[in-house]
């Protein structure tokens, strides 16, 4: 993995402002080595825990993953984005463990010269990590009943969009 691909799996929260600053610092380093010109756009996306239950409401979300394979899959996803767009840096931070409604779950950051590449790469990173990275969500309702979240066909559909246009 190159130094401009950042991947973190962690229980604790992340600091969006700090990650933005870190992304800027990394692109500045690359500019200094003339590796792609000045950075003109940084797109970031934060996914939050939301209540998807049809019943009495969400109490807690538990996130499980496959240590080792998760990092490898995310590295592949970032590498694919770098192949596809002229990016100066990417970040994926995904939380695991016990989360509450409204908590941050995932952050992606993509830096490029131009906004289209940054926007598209950020969305590509999200679409791919949702379908490829071995994470699993379990929802526990306020009534105490827990259930593993079903995969959505719409997530697979989102992937198809990138495959068709390649």
């Amino acid at each position: 993995m190159s130094t401009h691909q950042r991947i973190l799996i962690q229980e604790g929260d992340f600091d969006v402002a700090a990650e933005y600053a870190a992304a800027r610092a990394r692109t500045a380093e690359r500019e200094a080595t003339a590796a792609g010109g000045a950075c003109g756009a940084i797109a970031s996306f934060v996914g939050l825990v939301r209540d998807q239950l049809s019943g009495p409401g969400l109490e807690e979300l538990f996130l499980e993953h496959y240590p080792g394979m998760t990092e490898a899959e995310l590295a592949r996803v970032e590498a694919a984005a770098h192949e596809r767009w002229p990016l100066q840096g990417t970040t994926i931070i995904h939380r695991i463990g016990d989360l509450a409604p409204g908590d941050n779950i995932v952050l992606v950051v993509a830096a490029s010269r131009h906004r289209h590449a940054a926007f598209e790469a950020a969305e590509f990173l999200m679409d791919y990590l949702k379908s490829k990275a071995p994470f699993w969500k379990k929802e526990t309702g306020v009534d105490g009943n827990g259930a593993w979240v079903d995969a959505r066909e719409s997530d697979e559909d989102a992937l198809g969009r990138w495959q068709q246009s390649s």
Binding site: M69, H94, W136
Partner: protein
């Protein structure tokens, strides 16, 4: 039945499959030359047919040493001592 020449394969279950199995990691002694089908038979003996049925659902993916495999093409590939076989339900991250 286990013998001195058996290979030891580590099996990992995740999410609903982990809860169904009741364990996260299971070590299987298998005769040399055993493949995925033999592993499933062994898991059936250890955990019962309900788990084996769940492991063979079409949406469950299998990773050997953290790389996804095509079950059809790899069913006869011999497992080695130290191999890690993981059963992955459909992922729901992000």
């Amino acid at each position: 039945m286990s013998g001195a020449d058996d290979v030891l394969v580590s099996v990992r279950f995740f999410a609903a499959l982990r809860e169904l199995a009741g364990v996260e990691v299971h070590t299987c002694p298998l005769p040399q030359g055993s493949g995925l089908a033999d592993l499933l038979a062994d898991l059936g003996a250890a955990f019962g047919p309900a788990l084996v049925d769940a492991l063979q659902e079409p949406n469950v993916r299998v990773a050997v040493n953290q790389t996804l495999i095509e079950i059809g093409s790899s069913a006869n590939t011999s497992l080695q001592t130290g191999d890690e076989v993981a059963f992955l339900p459909p992922v729901t991250g992000g």
